[in-house]
Symmetry: C2
Subunit: 332 residues, 2 copies
């Protein structure tokens, strides 16, 4: 019975555990890290960086996984497809996502690289800079895309990061096809400006032909269209996909769908901004929860802002407070 229940959203992405430390800006320079970006690292490079980091906190992460947890926190129904190994961090990832109420059934790898991890350096301005060792997360392929699960979900949500690995990219395409064949919608997050640079042509074609709902921040959407001006990117994207939700940090977000344009202000943060890790993931969660529960696009944007404001007020990318409770005044 539980399995037959239709889902709001199924997400596919890299299953990662985040390992976070606070460092000064000089740490980024010393280690050749581009602030706010995500770079991939092999095991040796990741190990060397970890050795250099200060004391760490470990929490489950992964962009699409964070978004699914956010949707569940709003009271929505979500599933996740992604791969861990059968090791200690894999157990942590699996525990946390299930304990958050997200359906997660991808079998762990029993050989090959360890569970993936993302080294998160948080600087005093609360910006996060990511270095990802994909590990087992890269071992996802079209065979992991459960077509029935995809068909049961109103929206299939995909990470742009998946394009960094050939088999994950295939899984991505396979999921998008399955969703559309079932009359479902496909949502994409561009993930990272570096990721957009690496896959611009693919992403342009995707946005034009396959993506119904696009999530991007200012740097990503400007990188996609190779423009330096947000408004120029906005004019372009409105012609290319059904709905685009474009986030601009403290300046809030713009939601555009054809001629319909909404401005959602950033939601005030309770306390100070501690760590922006997961802000975009949380925004997508709020937006997609609203979208799959029949709210208008303006309110979807506001729910996104609300979720992001919770996540940036503490260390780590997933909500620590029930988003359903926080959203109650908005949804009344």
């Amino acid at each position: 019975m539980t399995d037959a229940k239709p889902l709001d959203v199924v997400g596919i992405g890299n299953a990662l555990v985040d390992v976070l430390s606070h460092e000064n800006d000089s740490f980024l320079t010393e280690h050749g890290l581009m602030k706010g970006g995500m770079s991939l690292a092999d095991a040796d490079r990741a190990h060397a960086l970890y050795d250099a980091m200060g004391p760490t906190t470990s929490v489950s992460g992964g962009s699409a996984a964070n978004t699914m947890v956010g949707i569940a926190s709003f009271g929505g129904s979500a599933a996740f497809i992604g791969r861990v190994r059968d090791d200690e961090l894999g157990e942590v990832f699996t525990h946390d996502i299930r304990a958050s109420g997200v359906r997660f059934g991808t079998a762990p790898a029993t050989e090959g690289p360890a569970t993936g991890r993302c080294l998160v350096v948080v600087t005093p301005d609360a910006e996060r800079t990511l270095t990802t060792f994909l590990g087992a997360a890269a071992e996802i392929g079209p065979e992991d895309v459960d077509a029935e699960l995809i068909a049961s979900a109103e929206v299939t949500y995909l990470e742009g990061y998946l394009f960094d690995q050939p088999s994950a990219k295939e899984a991505f395409r396979c999921a998008a096809t399955a969703a559309h064949e079932s009359g479902r919608r496909v949502a994409l997050t561009l993930s990272d400006f570096g990721c957009v640079d690496r896959h611009r042509d693919d992403f342009l074609t995707l946005v034009d032909r396959e993506v119904d709902i696009l999530f991007a921040n200012e740097a990503e959407i400007c990188a996609l269209y190779e423009v330096s001006d947000f408004d120029a990117a906005l004019q372009r994207v409105s012609k290319h996909c059904e709905v685009a939700a474009l986030t601009r940090s403290a300046r809030g977000s713009i939601v555009v769908s054809g001629d319909e344009v909404h401005v959602a202000d950033a939601h005030p943060v309770d306390g100070s901004v501690v760590d922006t890790t997961g802000a975009g993931d949380a925004y997508a969660a709020g937006f997609l929860f609203g979208f799959t529960h029949g709210h208008d696009l303006g309110r979807c944007g506001r729910l996104g802002s609300l979720a992001a404001s919770e996540v940036i007020a503490h260390l780590g990318p997933r909500p620590e407070t029930s988003l359903k409770d926080l959203a109650a005044p908005v949804l009344q």
Copy 2:
């Protein structure tokens, strides 16, 4: 040269990684946990409890290890003796304690149980309830007590928890003897009221004959003397060891040494009390830093309160802000 430098404090204790989640009080009842206490669990029991917990955050812990990290955060010099396994959590523990500036050289176990972990349930009142799977931490024995290291440290700091395992208890006794033979001081934390109940006779003898500096909270010192009144316990302890620092949560602490009695108020918390995990460990850090840097006992108590106030303002048992910076106004 570095190794030859005298140390402020060397700590011996259980090397653990803390796995924390927020739960309601009913969770404690359902799982038969006594609020505020520490119970030992085998791997199966720990696994079952972990499965029942909500999403978790993992940070390095272990009582004496936390205290050593606190001393280093004050700018003091500290070393730690304790055992992990050569697994992922063992790597995390080792990374974090070294990254905090604490000398840690105990070789990891290459076989036997996994690195120990402490499941920490934080209830809405910020109280923490501990369930510990000792794992490799229990595999510590007298052969791990580096007599030279002990001789080089002004104070040897021991966890009462060590008495829960026969070989760890032997390590404890061996370290105390080595410290006294070198003319050094021995400090003990009673750790937990349940632990005091299990080892009352041993602890009474220890406090009388071997312990120079005793740390205990109200429940522990009352359990030791089997009295229900704090003042009654205070009158007893002042006759039994050189210095006793007795903590009373929000009511601050009392430091007693013969006829000398100091009252140190609780230090105001920046924000709200989030999680009391590590409060006692941090208090001991502040106290021992002060003690090994020539401060009077009243100030030692105030430094303890200051350190505790930092640690209870966030999730996890170790300081996130430099205690040296926080203490600067007090030490001027």
